[in-house]
């Protein structure tokens, strides 16, 4: 059974890049254009990984992570956050919300896959 990832970013190009990279690694990808959209798409789905941007309109990544963690299906799922903020502050907020790990932009597909390998069985 192939794994499914939820990829959330308001930037289409970034989202496509992440989605494409994950697809090339055998994931099925569901894309969300912001937190709100992603949360709606997460309902009833069976996901193995979430990759989300932090800075997004409508619902930001931190809130999304918090919301997802309250859902039984996402309680133990690895959630990676994408951030350009290298400050620890955002990472701390993300972790407090329940994020598993993070990727600092810019990153390339290979790096993304390395991090994914770290958190997905």
């Amino acid at each position: 059974m192939s794994k499914t990832a939820l990829v959330v970013d308001d930037s289409t190009s970034m989202r496509q890049m992440v989605a494409f990279t994950l697809q090339s690694a055998g994931f099925e990808v569901v894309e969300g254009c912001d937190g709100k959209d992603a949360l709606a798409k997460s309902q009833g789905g069976n996901f193995n990984l979430v990759v989300t941007d932090l800075n997004m309109p409508n619902m930001d990544g931190i809130t999304l992570i918090k919301e997802l963690r309250t859902l039984p299906a996402f309680k133990f799922i690895p959630i990676l956050m994408l951030t350009t903020e290298s400050q620890d502050e955002k990472k701390q907020q993300g972790r407090a919300a329940g994020a598993t790990g993070w990727m600092t932009k810019p990153f390339n597909p290979e790096q993304l896959l390395q991090v994914v390998a770290k958190v997905v069985k």
Binding site: D10, S11, T12, S13, M14, Q16, M17, F20, T21, S24, C33, D37, D53, N55, M56, P57, R69, K75, F76, I77, P78, I79, L82, T84, S86, R95, G98, A99, T100, G101, W102, M103, T104, K105, P106, F107, N108, P109, E110, Q111, L113, Q114, V115, K118, V119, V120, K121
Partner: protein, 726 residues
């Protein structure tokens, strides 16, 4: 694995353009309310997104620049600095610079010249805001290495203790993955699980982690690299890394290190080397985009709440084109069926026809976009121009959501910029002049868009000084646009500003240029099968009205026959059709033929003569189609009315050449080509008899006759230079 991400560059360019548009809009808004956090957040988010994606796609210059901008924005967002007018100005310039940098990336062109200058201005602003705290250089923190690259080192044995927090699993963590990663770093000598913290089954929370682990690892990796493995673990989780020599006995009592650790350095442990995560990309691994997409900028169809799919513009055009062919093909089939006696009665044919028409309608709607983005750009133009001239202008838009064909939207931008510039430069007066005239000091410029029938109207209204007829006339005469001011109606005088080479500015300003503006506006609008006209009241302001077709792809037409050929008259221009007796047609010397319809004198044109089809043929049946273009009427004489039909417009110019009086061609159901009459072009022919008399003189004398006969006609007849195409 090398994954090519250059294919996403196109997407990025489109997206970045949208971000810049949003940024610009928000910046203009910020000018009015400098402390609006929501607006600041919007700007920050846009800059942030551009930075993130541009660096990912290897556009370091863009990344570098946006990073500096972002730093400043951050200070504004935090309330450390205030968005003063100068800062907004600086950031607007930054938007332009980013635009330039992106264009440079896209077309392999040179970056804008003022990049460094703007960067230092941004840095200065940042330092002023933070009280002298210096920035970490333009490229500073974008590519922040998390660790030193793992240096090859001697093989060491580490003892690693992992004490996961109770909530370990709730962070999406898995001890197994950590242990596996450690194992892959070298040679796992020993691993022990400590289950002493495990509570009795009844008290155990299955979602909690109670186990601890101790690992002995022999590896070439540095201690830092081992710490890296734990970079994602939550704060409550503890781990310890200590060096243990081969002979060491672990201090932790539970772990029995009975295994004799081999001390030889060359175990097979160097097969794996971790790359620090999220480290700055090194050149060897970064996907180097090699393509330089030259494709035209594609924009999103609609940026609303709904989900959208971006499609290449050319593919969309091709689709619409093909559906146009389908429409033609369908009517051909229909005609064939009819010749077998099974045409319109065929239910299947009827259904197919309906589906095809629906499909065509839908395909055309795909290319419809709101005019909002174009209007948005005008706000910036108004702002820049008014600032430069020291005028106060309030800019208001209505009907931003009005949709029209993407092709039209793309091409209306430049003419609108000219119009808006002119309105602010020549229309709106200086504040003190306005005060003297008893007007509010701030001028008002209004841009409206609305749909009426098959047309979109864009109106630009200002409450400035209006057009000075005297100046207009003397200028027109001086420039040789008209011979004399005699007998020109007020409306005609106003519309002289659209005449080629006409400028009303007393001197050439660097804002409105050399007065080629309005002439170019007219030509651009006409190229879009639209028309433009101006109404003006001296001292009160002017309104320029631009009429544009909803789409350039299809047309509702009236099919008429001229001898054995079929022509199409755009239905929108058709007022009525009548039959007149030959004696109702009057000839006026030096002008041509006219008819009188309900007291109104209307110029008459024999279409077959105008289009130089046949000179011998003369139809005195008097079948006339009355057409109207912006209130100006004309009678076209034809042989027969064949009916009305929606036709797919084929550009004649690209397929053949430009033919005077013909706007395009279409293919009829029977496969024949029919030409679409260009009402504006044809109307010029009426005023340009074959002897080559200058149009202006002709029209003037025609108007002279008109004005002496019927006032209504004077209103509707204008100088050819102000006339408008249909």
């Amino acid at each position: 694995m090398q994954i090519d991400i250059s294919r996403f560059r196109d997407s990025f360019f489109v997206e970045a353009a949208e971000h810049l548009e949003n940024m610009e809009a928000a910046l203009l808004q910020l000018e009015g309310e400098p402390e609006n956090t929501e607006t600041l957040n919007t700007i920050f988010r846009a800059a942030h997104s551009i930075k993130g994606a541009s660096t990912t796609f290897g556009m370091d210059e863009v990344g570098k620049f946006t990073h500096v901008l972002e730093n400043l924005l951050d200070q504004l967002r935090e309330g450390v600095a205030k968005a003063s007018d100068q800062l907004v100005e600086l950031m607007l310039t930054s938007v332009d610079v980013i635009e330039g940098l992106l264009a440079a990336e896209k077309e392999n062109a040179d970056p804008p010249e003022n990049v460094d200058e703007v960067i230092s201005a941004l840095n200065e602003a940042f330092q002023a805001a933070t009280g002298g705290q210096s920035l970490d250089g333009p490229s500073g923190t974008i590519c922040k290495a998390v660790n030193d690259p793992a240096k090859p080192s001697n093989v060491t044995v580490y003892e690693i203790q992992l004490l996961p927090s109770r909530e370990f699993f709730c962070f999406g963590q898995d001890p197994y993955l950590l242990l596996r990663e450690l194992a892959e770093m070298g040679h796992l000598l020993d691993i022990q699980a400590d289950s002493s913290a495990l509570p009795p089954l009844a008290e155990m929370n299955p979602e909690h982690c109670y186990l601890h682990w101790t690992i002995k690892l022999q590896t070439e990796a540095t201690e830092a690299a081992i710490h890296d493995v734990f970079m994602f673990v939550d704060e409550a989780t503890q781990w310890k890394v200590s060096q243990a020599t081969a002979s060491d006995t672990p201090k932790t009592s539970e772990i029995d290190s009975a295994t004799e650790t081999p001390a030889d350095a060359d175990s097979e442990s160097h097969t794996y080397q971790t790359t620090p995560v999220a480290e700055s990309t090194d050149d060897s691994t970064r996907a180097k985009p090699t393509t330089s997409p030259k494709s035209s900028m594609r924009r999103t169809i609609s940026a609303g709440e709904n989900e959208t799919v971006r499609v290449d513009r050319r593919r969309l055009d091709e689709l619409i084109n093909q559906i146009g062919e389908l429409v033609i093909g369908t009517s051909m089939v229909e005609q064939d069926l009819a010749s077998f006696g099974a045409g319109r009665e065929s239910a299947a044919m009827g259904q197919l026809g309906k589906i095809v028409r629906d499909l065509q309608e839908m395909s055309l709607s795909l290319r419809m976009v709101p005019i909002a983005a174009t209007f948005q750009k005008m706000a910036r133009v108004v702002r820049d121009v008014s600032k430069k001239l020291g005028k106060e202008v309030q800019f208001i838009t209505f009907g931003d959501e009005t949709e029209l064909d993407k092709t039209v939207v793309d091409q209306i931008g430049d003419p609108l910029v000219h119009m808006v510039r002119n309105a602010v430069d020549h229309g709106v007066e200086m504040p003190e002049d306005r005060e003297r005239a008893g007007k509010p000091t701030a001028g008002r410029v209004e841009l409206r868009a609305f749909q009426q029938g098959g047309n979109i109207y864009i109106e630009l209204q200002d409450d400035g000084k209006g057009l000075n007829r005297k100046t207009l006339l003397s200028k027109a005469i001086e420039k040789g646009v008209i011979d004399s001011a005699e007998n020109l109606s007020d409306n005609e005088i106003c519309n002289l500003i659209f005449a080629p080479g006409f400028s009303t500015a007393a001197e050439v300003t660097d804002v409105s240029g050399r007065g080629v503006g309005m002439d170019v506006v007219r030509r651009n609008v006409e190229a879009l099968q639209g028309s433009v006209s101006i109404r003006s009241e001296e001292g009160k302001g002017s309104t320029i009205s631009v009429r544009l077709p909803l789409t350039l792809a299809i047309l509702d037409g009236l099919l008429v026959r001229l001898e054995h050929e079929v022509y199409i008259i755009p239905l929108l221009s058709v007022v009525e059709s009548i039959r007149v007796s030959p004696d109702q047609i009057k000839r006026i010397v030096g002008v041509g033929e006219v008819i009188t319809l309900r007291g109104e004198v209307i110029p008459l044109l024999r279409l077959h003569q105008a289009l130089q089809r046949s000179n011998g043929h003369d139809n005195e049946d008097g079948l006339l189609v009355i057409v109207e273009d912006q209130g100006r009427r004309m009678a076209l004489m034809v042989d027969e009315l064949l009916g009305q039909q929606q036709v797919v417009i084929k550009n004649l110019e690209t397929n053949f050449r430009k033919v005077p009086g013909i706007a395009g061609a279409t293919i009829l159901g029977d496969g024949r080509v029919a030409l679409i009459v260009d009402i504006y072009g044809v109307s010029l022919m009426h005023r340009q008899p074959t002897n080559g008399t200058p149009a202006s003189r002709e029209s003037t004398s025609l108007d002279a006759i008109n004005s002496s006969t019927q006032h209504a006609v004077v209103e509707s007849n204008t100088d050819p230079n102000s006339m408008t195409a249909s």
